[in-house]
Symmetry: C2
């Protein structure tokens, strides 16, 4: 997601470095998924990757930047923006809800978002990463294409509704919301998103 | 919040037990607030309270039940239900939003909810506790007083909107939502809650 600082690459680069970087990223992904942000350690990641912890920090700078690099955003963000925008304007909210649910319904695509969300609830740096990433790659571009006043406000309201939907349906499992068909959830939540996106606020 | 299993009290009760219980609860509250659900340990709580870890488990049964007992729900739930219900029906959503924000705006009242939410994102047992508590003491009674069809569905939708609002405004800090006056947030989110509470779904 976030590339390492440019200064970390360069003429001093040794053969095999990209393999080492990849091994660290694979180990980080496994550790963050298994133990969450808090309990995953640079030491354990380095050990799994067969390198010294100092090398992990040399390559990635910090635990937060390693986390950002290891997390693969689980959808093509440009295509997602187009998917939400394509179709009747009155159904923007339903399409945003349907797209969001399509990601969360797939356990493999849901996992990286849940790891980021867990990390964000316990660590301010991880919260900043989640916010900046979501706004930079998806909500910001989507909002700017809506041609409405206050796109940032509208997108922050959509993010509140969507984060809450993900948490209540898939993590805390409030019923009957957790067991509904996705089509029904789209009907239920779409109008709230529609108002946030295009309504009078 | 949740009392210990009845069997843990009884004729064998020694003098000083209530003081010991209180010391454990105080230590638990401090540990959960400082380290979160994941990193707070029975061992550290017992150490802070000056007792053996086995005694903590004897009194409370498990980490989850200790957590539930240590967390003080940061508002009078019966009064909260009345506060939301009192007034014009068309402003139920705004009153629910205003009440929720009044709790989250106060760092001391927000903290126990954030600890529960953090715990819920990493632990299924903690998620169940959050869900059951919120439904039993607040959302369930509120929903049953609305005299609408599908009160559970409506309340689970409200919980999604409110959990997301709390997370987006106070934890992930999406802007401009995070910096708005509470009165403005009530205006923005109230209509979504109103529809979930009384609208055609």
């Amino acid at each position: 997601m976030t590339p390492p600082p440019a200064g970390k690459r360069g003429p001093g680069r040794r053969p095999g470095e990209s393999g080492t970087r990849q091994a660290i990223l694979d180990a980080a992904r496994a550790q963050f998924a298994a133990h969450g942000w808090d309990r995953a350690t640079i030491r354990a990641i380095a050990s799994d990757a067969g390198v010294d912890p100092a090398l992990v920090l040399h390559f990635f700078g910090s635990k937060a930047l390693l986390f950002a690099a290891a997390m693969t955003w689980p959808f093509d963000t440009d295509a997602a923006v187009e998917e939400v925008l394509s179709g009747p304007r009155a159904q923007l909210g339903e399409r945003l809800a349907a797209f969001f649910l399509s990601v969360w319904e797939d356990p493999e695509r849901r996992e990286p978002i849940m790891v980021m969300l867990r990390a964000a609830t316990t660590n301010a740096q991880a919260a900043e990463l989640l916010r900046e990433t979501l706004m930079t790659v998806f909500l910001g571009p989507l909002g700017s294409r809506l041609e409405v006043p206050d796109p940032e406000l509208r997108m922050s309201l959509c993010s509140a509704q969507l984060i809450g939907l993900g948490t209540a349906r898939y993590i805390v499992a409030f019923e009957p919301l957790a067991s509904l068909e996705t089509e029904r959830v789209v009907e239920l939540v779409g109008p709230a998103l529609q108002r946030y996106m295009t309504g009078e606020l």
